[in-house]
């Protein structure tokens, strides 16, 4: 088991009225094997709050959070986690190399091994040319990439990214998606990332966790989630040089339709299952109030 969240409840107090505002309600999800998992939900759904509870930045009222089968706050566990918050700004007056060395040392690395790893990562994130530049001179895309590098410096087994692609231009997003893909294929790292950019999630993830209004409504393979949105079957047929497409909703109806078309002398050109995209499936999920 890589990650397991059980019955996580979190509430905040209103600063003036001190009224309790619950934002997470018995959140449950798990990641069992190495994969890229997308944590999806609209604004205010509870993605960042859940992640902050996992990292230890927020306390919570009840629940059990386990990473690699241990309490998520244990130092041994933290050594195995890499984390990149949403839209981070780092120390302005450190160079890229100093910055990575700092985070490497905090994770217990030192000496030649750390120097080699810094070189590898600067290469991976395409910032070798900026090795001695201060972070204050970095663009937003460069900051996001150096942020990725700090999260990866100690070769974590679990990488947690909070909206890593938001606020980047298309080129920046493409670069970061490629870094995430490379990390997943080349290192023994499970990647758990929150996002509302469905195209990128679709491209990257094998599994999904869907959250809405502080409740998790789906946790499983992306393909299963999208398959739930299948609508039926499309039959393309022709008769007397005229082509037509018809739709049927169920498999039994499809058989009947095929028999009928054949009896009428139609030629069946092809049959395909109507599929919807992750984007459409997610819109349906949001519209249904998450009742899946």
């Amino acid at each position: 088991m890589i990650l397991e969240v059980q019955n996580l409840n979190k509430s905040f107090r209103h600063p003036w009225s001190l009224q309790k505002i619950q934002v997470l309600f018995d959140v449950n999800f798990r990641i069992e094997k190495k994969s890229i998992v997308g944590f999806l939900g609209g604004n205010g759904a509870g993605k960042t709050t859940s992640i902050k509870c996992l990292i230890g930045l927020l306390s919570y009222q009840s629940g059990a959070l386990k990473i690699f089968g241990k309490n998520h706050l244990e130092k041994a566990v933290k050594k195995e986690i890499g984390y990149l918050p949403e839209r981070p700004y780092f120390y302005n007056y450190l160079s890229a190399e100093e910055f990575l060395r700092f985070y490497g040392q905090l994770s217990g690395m030192s000496g030649k091994a750390l120097s080699i790893r810094i070189g590898e990562l600067l290469e991976l994130v395409g910032l070798s040319h900026a090795r001695h530049m201060f972070l204050t001179q970095f663009s937003k895309g460069m900051l996001q990439r150096i942020g990725m590098a700090q999260a990866l410096i100690h070769k974590p087994r679990l990488l947690i990214l909070d909206e890593p692609l938001s606020g980047l231009d298309p080129d920046g997003r493409r670069q970061l998606v490629s870094i995430i893909q490379n990390t997943f294929t080349e290192e023994d790292t499970t990647i758990f990332f929150s996002s509302h950019l469905l195209d990128d999630v679709d491209r990257l993830c094998q599994d999904l966790v869907l959250i809405k209004n502080g409740r998790v409504h789906y946790n499983g393979p992306k393909s299963d989630f999208v398959d739930r949105g299948k609508r039926g079957y499309l039959i393309r047929h022709s008769f007397a040089s005229k082509t037509a497409v018809e739709s049927v909703s169920e498999l039994s109806a499809l058989q009947l339709k095929i028999d009928q078309l054949r009896e009428d002398g139609h030629q069946i050109l092809n049959i395909e299952q109507e599929k919807i995209s992750l984007d459409e499936a997610f819109k349906e999920f949001q519209g249904q109030g998450g009742a899946r």
């Binding site: 905040f12 990292i55 230890g56 927020l58 933290k78 700004y89 007056y93």
Partner: protein, 256 residues
């Protein structure tokens, strides 16, 4: 492998010492110190005593201002820029983080104090004043006081915004210097409520005037060893007290 406390302290030192904002404050402080010395020169007699007194007062005021500025701004910046998020995600306890920050800032203050000592000596030399070892005891007192003040700023910054932290730390600084006078006032006062409030303040706040060794510089006499040791112990205990208070709050803090 370095200790995480040392790693955080070293990073804090590098980050602060390269910050241009710090240099604006330092340049202002040096100008202010120069002005204080210049005012001392306007005197017809007692030029040495007045120049040293005003010069050291200027340094004292600026140095404590720097301690408050550094202590309050460092937390605000770390939380505002979310750098603290990535740090606390590492195998680093909140106590180690806080101690690392404190030691890092203390080393920045020590470096700045060394700069002030150099400026002070240079001005004394340029004004053809005698350079006496007794003048430098005051700087030791400044450092002890800054160590207390820094942990006080940590305490306020652990639960409030920069404006409140600066105001609270400044109030602490002023009351701390006022404690000795207050003691004299309440002895003469006939009001019971004034007496009670005064007693509470006297026993709650450290007497920062006890760390003021400018009179020794002016009278050109050394600070007795027992006073130095007592001041060191007092400063360490007060700094530890406020540091522990900050730690208790900081450990429970949610980063929303």
């Amino acid at each position: 492998m370095s200790s995480p406390i040392f790693v955080v302290a070293k990073n804090t030192f590098i980050e602060m010492i390269r910050d241009r904002v710090l240099y604006f404050v330092v340049v202002f402080s040096i100008l202010f110190m120069g002005l204080c010395f210049a005012l001392g020169q306007l005197s017809y007699n007692e030029i040495f005593r007045l120049s040293v007194s005003l010069g050291l007062s200027g340094i004292h005021f600026c140095f404590m201002g720097l301690a408050i500025f550094l202590g309050c701004s460092v937390f605000f910046r770390e939380i505002e820029r979310k750098t603290i998020y990535t740090l606390l995600a590492r195998p680093l306890s909140r106590g180690q983080y806080l101690l690392g920050k404190y030691l890092g800032l203390l080393s920045v203050l020590l470096t700045l104090l060394f700069g002030f000592v150099l400026c002070f000596t240079l001005v004394e030399y340029l004004l053809a004043m005698p350079i006496l070892l007794t003048s430098y005891y005051a700087f030791v007192g400044f450092f002890f006081e800054a160590a207390i003040l820094l942990s006080v700023t940590f305490f306020f910054a652990s639960f409030s915004k920069p404006f409140l932290s600066i105001t609270g730390s400044l109030a602490f600084f002023l009351i701390g210097h006022w404690v000795a006078s207050l003691e004299a006032f309440i002895e003469k006062s006939t009001s019971v409520s004034f007496y009670l409030i005064g007693q509470v303040i006297i026993h709650t706040f450290p007497n920062l005037e006890a760390l003021n060794w400018r009179p020794f510089a002016i009278s050109q006499s050394p600070v007795p060893a027992y006073e130095l040791s007592f001041a060191f112990a007092t400063a360490a205990l007060w700094a530890l007290f406020f540091f522990m208070l900050s730690l208790i709050i900081f450990r429970r803090k949610d980063f929303e």
